[in-house]
């Protein structure tokens, strides 16, 4: 079962040190375990662009599609036996201790 992990920070103002926020050990561990397929950090919401097409017209707006305190800071795609394993993997991500991780199952039929 594949899951998308949305790595969410709560905006700026982390109390965490850069070492605490370093996800590389987690990436290494989960890649070696065969759980993490891919993923990346993403730029801040202020660097985002939202695209819509309405009645054939392109609408481009700056910023994310939803203004929330929580901002997506990155994502990972993991392959796990079940949700319990996905939760375990997500709980070990450093951002889980300061921000939060949303676990979304892939659509399968």
């Amino acid at each position: 079962m594949k899951y998308l992990l949305l790595i969410c920070s709560e905006g700026q103002g982390f109390d965490a040190s850069p070492e605490e926020m370093d996800a590389q050990p987690w990436v290494d561990e989960m890649t070696a375990r065969g759980v993490r397929l891919t993923g990346s950090r993403t730029r801040d919401a202020e660097d985002a662009t939202t695209v819509r097409v309405r009645d054939g017209a392109l609408l481009t707006t700056d910023g994310p599609y939803a203004e929330t305190k929580e901002q997506m800071a990155g994502f990972d795609i993991i392959e796990c036996a079940d949700l319990d394993e996905a939760i375990e993997v997500a709980s070990k991500h450093p951002v889980a201790r300061h921000g939060m991780i949303e676990v979304r199952p892939f659509w399968t039929e």
Partner: protein
């Protein structure tokens, strides 16, 4: 998934032989023996539904199929048992029947799929894939029902769905009955159940007892759901027959959980707590349905056998020396149950236990209950000081038991005007009719000419309308 044709016996879904419905299809059997068979099926429905559903989910991973095949198995029992006799182990008979039915239907569905593929001239599957058998070799799991309980109470499901799914999968209550108990339209409840089952499938919520590292918190979630079920029929003024049934099922499930998790003293603690509360149920309301405070209850109506059982289970749990919030609450309930009357109650011990509970599961509601116990032990003035401190902290703003408790303590101190004001405040906030009637009576007493508040009365359960309601709410939060 298509479940194939079916043998034309499918009744209206949700028929409950237990309630004497859905029995129309049963072979007519000679009078008494027919009744005996119906009774046996009804008993098995209550006792074995969860086992049958759990076994089919364990075999197939398909929750809807499990419910349908369990239903089929019971309908089959109504047909077969009158002629064949009631089997020695009805649970085993029903489980085997349901599992065979599930395998038949999966095989038929698989065959149809193969035929379809052949018709479409696609390469045939190498073999008809057998139903997914979920054997994860976990020897520590002795009973599929334990896996079912943990899956129903998975924290990835919303709490109302956990509650509904636990009842539907483990107790055999129909969707309509569950909807009535929780006062929502049947359609809403059906959607809630469908969404929960969809999420289990879509997110791959596993059918198993959680790993050791997360077992304590997951167990706490299961206990919270069972206690919430218990309170459905126990909340003051809320208990109709549908809610009472849910309370009965909660006790049955707590009993099952305590048996399946013998190493978890909190499971036994929860069972003891339920038994000790339930033992008082006949005395808790009067004929008009009004709440009778603890100190006014006719203690001869208390179920002594239940109390003895609850105390014994609690003592065995406490002997394991791993106390937790449910064991502490059960110990408080046991203090009340042991006492011949309110005067002989060990309020000092109860105040200490509330202190212990506040340490383990901090909550202003627990503090309020402690204040009541302190008032009984050291006098209303001491209790009132604690209540005023709670009121000043503001955490319980809007909670009717806060002014109700203040009112009662003021009444006992003889401060009738402030007591009346506090009763009025409590009346505004009280959520149920029974509680409002109780408070209105008290208000009339303090406003009436010349009657003193009877000293030493208005304890815990009384003041607070229902001290246990406070405990209940605490447990729901923890």
């Amino acid at each position: 998934m298509s479940h194939g044709g079916g043998a034309g016996r499918r009744g209206g879904g949700g028929a409950t032989p237990a309630a004497g419905r859905g029995a129309d299809g049963a072979a007519p059997a000679a009078g008494a023996s027919g009744d005996r068979v119906k009774e046996a099926v009804a008993a098995a429905w209550s006792e074995e539904w969860g086992r049958v559903v759990a076994a089919v989910i364990a075999l197939t991973g398909d929750w809807d199929l499990a419910e349908e095949c369990a239903q089929d198995a019971f309908e089959r029992a109504l047909e077969r048992w009158p002629g064949d006799g009631v089997p020695r182990s009805p649970g085993a008979w029903l489980t085997t029947t349901a599992r065979n039915r599930a395998l038949d239907r999966l095989r038929r569905a698989a065959n149809e799929a193969v035929k379809l593929r052949q018709a479409a001239r696609l390469a045939p599957e190498p073999a008809v894939s057998p139903p997914a058998v979920h054997e994860d070799g976990d020897d520590a799991v002795p009973d599929d029902r334990l896996r079912l309980i943990f899956t129903c109470c998975h924290p990835a499901l919303p709490l109302p769905a956990q509650v509904a799914l636990t009842l539907r999968s483990l107790t055999g209550l129909t969707t309509a009955e569950i909807a009535r108990a929780f006062l929502v339209p049947e359609k809403t409840m059906a959607q809630r159940l469908t969404r929960a089952k969809n999420k289990i499938r879509h997110a791959a919520i596993p059918f198993r007892v959680p790993r050791r590292e997360v077992l304590p918190e997951r167990t706490a979630a299961v206990l919270a759901v069972l206690y919430l079920l218990f309170n459905a029929g126990y909340a003051p003024g809320a208990a109709g027959p549908d809610q009472r049934r849910v309370t009965g099922e909660a006790i049955r499930l707590a009993r099952l959980l305590a048996r399946l998790m013998p190493a978890e003293p909190e499971a036994a603690g929860l069972l003891a707590l339920m038994l000790l509360h339930d033992a008082r149920s006949a005395a808790r309301t009067d004929r008009a349905g009004d709440l009778v405070p603890l100190e006014d209850q006719d203690r001869t109506l208390w179920d002594r056998a239940r109390i003895a059982e609850g105390v014994e289970i609690l003592d065995r749990a406490l002997a394991r020396r791993r106390p937790g919030p449910y064991q502490v609450q059960a110990a408080i309930a046991a203090c009340h149950a042991d006492a011949p009357g309110p005067q002989e109650t060990d309020w000092k011990q109860i105040a200490l236990l509330y202190g212990e509970l506040a340490r383990r599961a901090p909550s202003p509601v627990v503090e309020l209950n402690r204040a009541v116990a302190v008032a009984m032990d050291e006098g209303p003035a001491c209790g009132l000081a604690l209540v005023e401190a709670l009121a000043a902290a503001g955490e319980l703003a809007g909670y009717h038991l806060l002014p109700a408790t203040r009112a009662d303590l003021l009444r006992r101190l003889g401060d009738r005007a402030p007591a009346a004001a506090a009763y009025r405040e409590a009346l505004e906030l009280a959520p149920t009719e029974a509680e409002r009637r109780f408070l209105a009576r008290r208000l009339a007493e303090v406003e009436g000419p010349g009657t003193d508040g009877r000293a030493g009365e208005g304890a815990e359960e009384g003041t607070a309308g229902e001290g246990t309601a406070g405990e209940d709410r605490t447990a729901e939060r923890s």
